[in-house]
């Protein structure tokens, strides 16, 4: 019997801070490190993971929920180690799933993730029902932040909602698009101080990835930047982050903080 896979979500509140790009690259490195990885596109209404990879999609999470499709059929393997579960695009009703549909999603996903060691969910922007549900569903929440004050306040708002409505206490902060390590640290410190003062939470610092033009280039070329330029600063940083995630997986499993069934606000 294989151990239960460890689940992570990448979320940020604000859009356009690099969730999908980082999720794809992290998944790639983790798979390279020999882990069996499943990357779930959690942006159920405006999916992008497939676009970022230039991947043809014939079946999505929507087919699983709406047409009782076999989840394994919706999964496409990029490498023997790396699987992608794509979502639908331009389907507003997928954004506002109710408790019963979330329960169904949980059931099918639990069944699916048994085949993997690490599950990464790239969530949508905002604090909609699907974002909050994935946030309560995973073992570890990774909050992506850039040094922009708008990104910081949105990340903080998301953390507050997850803490208050879903009793989550642990958040791993990943600083993206920083000019240097110091800027990442400063941004983290600001957020950590506010969270400590108002929410009595101590945030965890997962690491930072530098502002690197290769990231934009890779998005336009529809390839992971880790493939396009494995030695660029952004790629190096992602490798370090992937190792940290991998070490989180190898340590003891976390206590489930919330029941898998999402509590409604």
């Amino acid at each position: 019997m294989q151990a239960r896979p460890r689940t992570f979500c990448l979320t940020s509140g604000k859009g356009g801070v690099g969730k999908t790009s980082l999720a794809v690259n992290l998944a790639y490195v983790l798979a390279d490190r020999g882990k069996k990885v499943l990357l779930i596109d959690g942006d159920l209404g405006l999916a992008n993971v497939d676009v970022l990879l230039g991947l043809p999609v014939c079946s999505t999470i929507q087919d699983i929920i709406c047409r009782q499709g076999d989840p394994l059929e919706s999964v496409s393997y990029l490498t023997p180690q790396l699987a992608i579960l794509p979502a639908s695009s331009g389907v507003p009703e997928m954004v506002t799933l109710g408790p019963e549909e979330h329960a169904q999603l949980d059931e099918t996903l639990q069944d699916l993730i048994r085949h993997f060691e690490i599950v990464l969910v790239d969530t949508a922007a905002g604090i909609g029902p699907s974002v909050l549900w994935f946030g309560s569903w995973v073992d570890h929440i990774i909050v992506l932040v850039t040094p922009d004050p708008t990104s910081m306040t949105d990340a903080y708002a998301l953390i507050k909602v997850m803490a208050q409505n879903y009793q989550r206490r642990r958040f791993h902060l990943l600083l993206n698009a920083v000019r240097n390590e110091q800027e990442g640290r400063q941004t983290f410190d600001t957020l950590a101080k506010v969270a400590e003062r108002f929410l009595h939470l101590s945030l965890a610092y997962l690491g930072s990835t530098p502002l690197d033009p290769i990231v934009c280039q890779a998005i336009r070329d529809q390839v992971p930047f880790i493939r396009l330029a494995p030695n660029r600063p952004a790629s190096q940083a992602v490798k370090i982050l992937a190792d940290r995630l991998a070490s989180m997986v190898s340590c003891r499993p976390p206590r489930r903080q919330t029941p898998p069934k999402a509590k409604l606000a």
Partner: protein, 249 residues
């Protein structure tokens, strides 16, 4: 509510008069009539108490499935016995009918208005959160105050007391207990001097506080916080005289 008895089909052989179909149609008609009798209150034409409980159970199940809360308003006409005693039971009945009509016109399409008994009413509000339910109750209170309810009793102002409760999907509660919760609030409204709306704070979801101004300010640097206040002050000073001039001109 939709009738479970659809119209009888045409004769499959195309016969103009079919004795069997005739009987079938009559039976359907009779069933519809009986169903209506079983569901409605004869005086007001509203749904009756039996129907209320069934509909409430159904809506609470819908809440569990969809996550949208169900709200319930319990209403009692104030000092109704006085009307009966002063003007007679006939006038009392007229008042009940008039009030039913006014409220029917003021609820929304999906709301289910029932006569609970005597001068007590209940309204099921499917997929409605507490604040919206309270607003509706206040609208019904105002509608009652707006017009003369009954020509025979126009010297008496007809008012009502309202108890509003909400059922959320994470609560474990039977339809009867939900009714009792709204009824308790109605009693509170009575004790508060009647003609008012009472709702339970605990049935309000924890107020969505969001990120407060204080928390937001913690992300501002001192410099731009200062510029904001300066900008705000200069705006009020500059704009006001301008506007005054324009008005004079």
């Amino acid at each position: 509510m939709q009738s479970p008895f659809p119209k009888a089909p045409d004769c499959p052989l195309g016969a103009k008069t079919c004795p069997l179909l005739k009987v079938l149609r009559r039976l359907h008609q009779e069933c519809r009539r009986l169903l209506q009798l079983a569901q409605t209150d004869p005086l007001t034409g509203l749904f009756n108490r039996r129907c209320l409980l069934k509909a409430l159970e159904r809506e609470m199940e819908r809440t569990r499935r969809t996550g949208l809360p169900t709200s319930l308003i319990m209403i009692d006409l104030d000092h109704f016995k006085r009307i009966n005693d002063t003007f007679g039971h006939h006038t009392g009945d007229q008042v009940l009918r008039a009030v039913s009509r006014i409220w029917s016109q003021n609820i929304r399409q999906l709301d289910i208005l029932c006569r609970y008994g005597g001068e007590e009413f209940a309204i099921i509000l499917p997929g409605t959160r507490l604040p919206q339910a309270v607003r509706l109750a206040e609208r019904l209170q105002a509608a009652l105050a707006a017009g003369p309810v009954c020509p025979n009793a126009h010297s008496v102002a007809i008012t009502a007391s309202f108890g509003v409760a909400s059922f959320r999907p994470e609560e474990k509660m039977s339809a009867k207990r939900f009714l009792a919760r709204a009824d308790r609030l109605l009693l509170q409204a009575k004790m508060q001097g009647r003609n008012n709306v009472q709702y339970q704070d605990s049935s309000l979801p924890p107020a969505p506080t969001g990120v407060t101004q204080e928390e937001r300010l913690a992300f501002y640097t001192k410099r731009n916080a200062y510029e904001q206040t300066y900008h705000h002050a200069s705006q009020t000073q500059d704009v006001l005289p301008d506007q005054r001039q324009r008005r004079r001109g």
